[in-house]
Amino acid sequence: MRREAAHALLDQALSLANGRDVEIILGGGFDALTRFANNQITQNVAERRYLLSARVVEGKRTGRATTSDVSREGIARVLDRAARAARLQPEIPDLLPLPDAQHYTDIDAADSATEALEPGARAKEVERAVRRCRKAGLEGAGIYEVRSGTIGEYGEIGALAMANTRGLFAYHSGTSAIFRVSALDGTASGWAGRESHRAADVDGDALSEVAVEKALRSRAPAAWEPGRYTVVLEPAAVADLIQDMAWISFGALLVQEGRSFLAGKMGTRVMGENITLRDDPFHPLHRGSPFDAEGMPTRPTTLIDRGVAAGAVYDRQTAAKEGRESTGHGLPVPNTYGPIARHLVLEGGEGSVEDLIRKVDRGLLVTRVWYTNVVDPKTVTLTGMTRDGLFAIEGGKVTGGVRNFRFNQSVVQMLGQVEALSRPERTGGVVCPGLLVRSFQMSSGTEF
């Protein structure tokens, strides 16, 4: 939905406020995904939908109601339900009033060619990837997904536009194109992926070439013993680990409640000097939203500055507790989660992943990790599996496949043992480099 249409819809919603303090969030858009496996298209879908969420504030009470019915009658109904929900609950003593109008810096994130991409064009790109797998005698599987608006990976809906009765109006729409391909030969597999706001950046054939090469190298993997190894983590693996760390560490509520490893550590060294981590929707590889679900402008925020704990991300509530301003990382109010960092940027170096490999005498190359989960939140110890290409590095070269490992590793400790970083790229919703890490704990093996 374009800015003008969204503005008109939100104006109509606010016109039904009847003197109440009201906030409206509109989210949704278009999501199309072509899925392939065994070298043919197995699912091919498109969804178009919007959700309108209304919040009514009555003094220290607030209630929220959400609907997919954006007709005038639907909006009136949802406003009444939100008002009823507000009236029925006890006061929230530190509930803040709705914010006034804010100023936002536009982010150019919508690509019209991506928005207009037809299913036939997606099928052609998939065909290029599949052709290369077939030629190598492998089974190709993957996705080509194109989005416009704010439908998330699991169908969750983010804020496309929002407005309130105090004059606030915010709008941001972006596009994204995601291509991921796995090449399989029995239990041997390789993987590659690319994500951008432009479909023109996607090259299914080139990605398939990488996946095929990894799958072929993964045949007949050697069984290495569990233990601590020097590893080169490709950016996809790094993204998964630091995204998990962010969920449990960088929100101000987590810090205030003592649940984050950052609690009591601000201003002290917690990682290596070569680690600087920020949250920045303005990064050219992210092109995220310039506002949060409270309508506050999102400010680039440094979380780790050359290894020193530098800050957390705030919403209005957590900021008010410390007498500071929101950084614009809030979720819809009220919520129990607190603010979250959504646009992580781990600064990197200049070289390639291959340059990192050349520095390793004996170690492992990790293509990506899978099914990560938190073992211990205060040390950010995660477990997970290596996947789709675990390789031996010997004498600075990749020499063959290795059977996959389960790891149990503190990410904080890991980021204190980084010896080198490659050029950052965007993967898994994170901008990050590949890392050369000493003493990464592989704790058990598996059957492939």
């Binding site: 392939f36 879908v45 089974e139 997904e145 704790s443």
Partner: protein, 482 residues
């Protein structure tokens, strides 16, 4: 909605679909959270839309819309056919659907007390009482509780003549107490991690002993901060029912999904070690292990009259007396496992997503004996309660779980509380080490409500019934033994 579904179906057929089905769905939800004496969230939500699935020249297309006008339904159907045509443009083996009678039926889940008719004040009162009880315990950092109610009305029609109305109501809730020290975060939840949910009305909420457990749970969360660390090594392990439910989900349910077995999830959720050659041959577990898939289980989260392929609900063994015998299948893939008829496991999480193979309710059948009998029979072991984290490889061999707490068992008695228990194993070795499954009196229909699968991602809810069971010589301590 019914008329729009029929219009979309007719449009798809007229545009060239060889097969089509349409689901018109209306959702209503109510989610209430209380945290530390305040309402943390109170959201009333509804959504409605159409999902149109077609086969064109043996290839799938799907489109969904919330534009519930005549034009919107027609446009959605036309888009589904255009997408199907694009799918067919690649070389492919044409989809053939296993035969199923064209059912015409109305089905409704059990619901004695409509949860949407129960006043919000009453629900908030319950949550605030639980909250107060937890916060009365010194050392509790966060007291969090929630209730969640969902109603789904679905109308399904297909070009084969099926016409099925189904209504499901489900209720759930739970609470968590969190205690924090400088070095760690400990938590306890009740009745299980992520809450306890069943396809019932508000009577389900009223059947749970919330207040009787709130203080105990809070006290345990604080006690964990100073409890001894769970030792590392090989131990005889007794898993409490809700943890065993997740073990079943991850290491039995997902690997028996036939779409995974056939590589269709290879790029995301992964494949499976339960390849076709293992059916009726693999000793999956010990003779005590009987795992039954059951879409007819009363109150189950994955209980229905008919799946989203229009197939009638069924009950069958996945593992029988330890032998791997069955898969979770669809009309599209049943023939690949040698079956003439689908087992009826196709579902989606809404009108906006395409149906695919999802677990139906999958349970470990009870053995005999009480939990006390099992403890008495254990000379030295660990009794693990309530999941805290989970992970498993993409073929579903190597798993690792952490629970909220463990009790050390010596000569049949709980002798001390232990914190941070983790255990890790290989699926078939683990299930073959099972030597005691408690009886029907200990069996409960636990649930999983956050099962992710598919691209775009879909979230499913499934019941896994289980009674406590014992597993011999399991590796304990990963993540804390370095």
């Amino acid at each position: 909605m019914k008329d729009l579904a029929r219009l979309a179906l007719d449009t798809a057929a007229a545009r060239g679909a060889d097969y089509a089905d349409v689901r018109a769905i209306e959702f209503t939800r109510e989610d209430i959270q209380v945290k530390n004496g305040e309402v943390g969230g109170l959201e009333l939500s509804d959504s409605a839309g159409l999902g149109v699935r077609v086969l064109v020249q043996g290839a799938w297309g799907f489109a969904a819309t919330d534009d519930l006008t005549k034009e919107g339904a027609e446009r959605c159907a036309a888009e589904a056919v255009a997408i199907g045509r694009a799918s067919a443009s690649l070389e492919h083996e044409p989809v053939r659907l296993a035969p199923e009678p064209a059912h015409r039926a109305v089905w409704t889940s059990q619901c004695a007390v409509d949860p949407f008719s129960v006043p919000l004040e009453r629900k908030l009162d319950l949550l605030f009482r639980i909250d107060g009880e937890m916060r009365a315990v010194r050392g509790v950092k966060n007291a969090e509780s929630f209730l969640s109610f969902l109603r789904k009305r679905q109308h399904y029609v297909s070009t084969e003549g099926a016409d099925i109305d189904q209504t499901v109501t489900r209720s759930g809730g739970g609470f968590t107490s969190t205690a924090v020290s400088e070095r760690e975060v400990q938590r306890r939840t009740f009745p299980q991690a992520e809450g306890f949910h069943q396809a019932l009305g508000y009577e389900f909420i009223e059947s749970i002993p919330w207040m009787e457990n709130a203080r105990r749970i809070a006290e345990e969360s604080v006690a964990l901060l100073t409890a001894d660390q769970c030792p590392s090594g090989d131990f005889d392990l007794i898993l409490e029912g809700s943890q065993l439910a997740l073990q079943i989900h991850e290491s039995v349910g997902h690997p028996s999904e036939l779409d995974r077995v056939l590589g269709m999830e290879a790029n995301y959720a992964g494949t499976s070690f339960l390849t076709l050659d293992k059916q009726h041959k693999l000793a999956f577990g010990s003779k005590l292990v009987n795992l039954v898939a059951d879409a007819t289980l009363p109150q189950g989260l994955a209980t229905f009259g008919f799946d989203d392929d229009g197939v009638e609900a069924q009950r069958w063994h996945i593992v029988q007396d330890g032998l791997f015998v069955g898969y979770l299948t669809s009309r599209e893939l049943a023939h690949r496992a040698g079956d003439a008829r689908s087992r009826g496991c196709v579902r989606s999480d809404g009108w906006h997503h395409i149906p695919m193979i999802r677990m139906v309710n999958l349970s470990l059948m009870p053995g005999s004996g009480t939990l006390e009998d099992l403890l008495t029979d254990t000379d030295h072991g660990l009794y693990l309660e309530t999941n805290r984290s989970w992970s498993i490889d993409q073929l579903r061999y190597n798993f690792q779980f952490k629970t909220e707490l463990a009790w050390e068992i010596r000569k049949g008695k709980r002798v001390r509380m232990l914190k941070n228990p983790t255990y890790q194993g290989i699926t078939t070795q683990f299930w073959n080490s099972c030597d005691f499954v408690c009886g029907p009196e200990e069996w409960k229909p636990w649930g999983v409500v956050n099962c992710g699968k598919g691209q775009p991602g879909q979230v499913a809810e499934i019941t896994h019934g289980a009674a406590p069971a014992r597993f011999r010589k399991v590796r304990v301590g990963a993540g804390y033994d370095a």
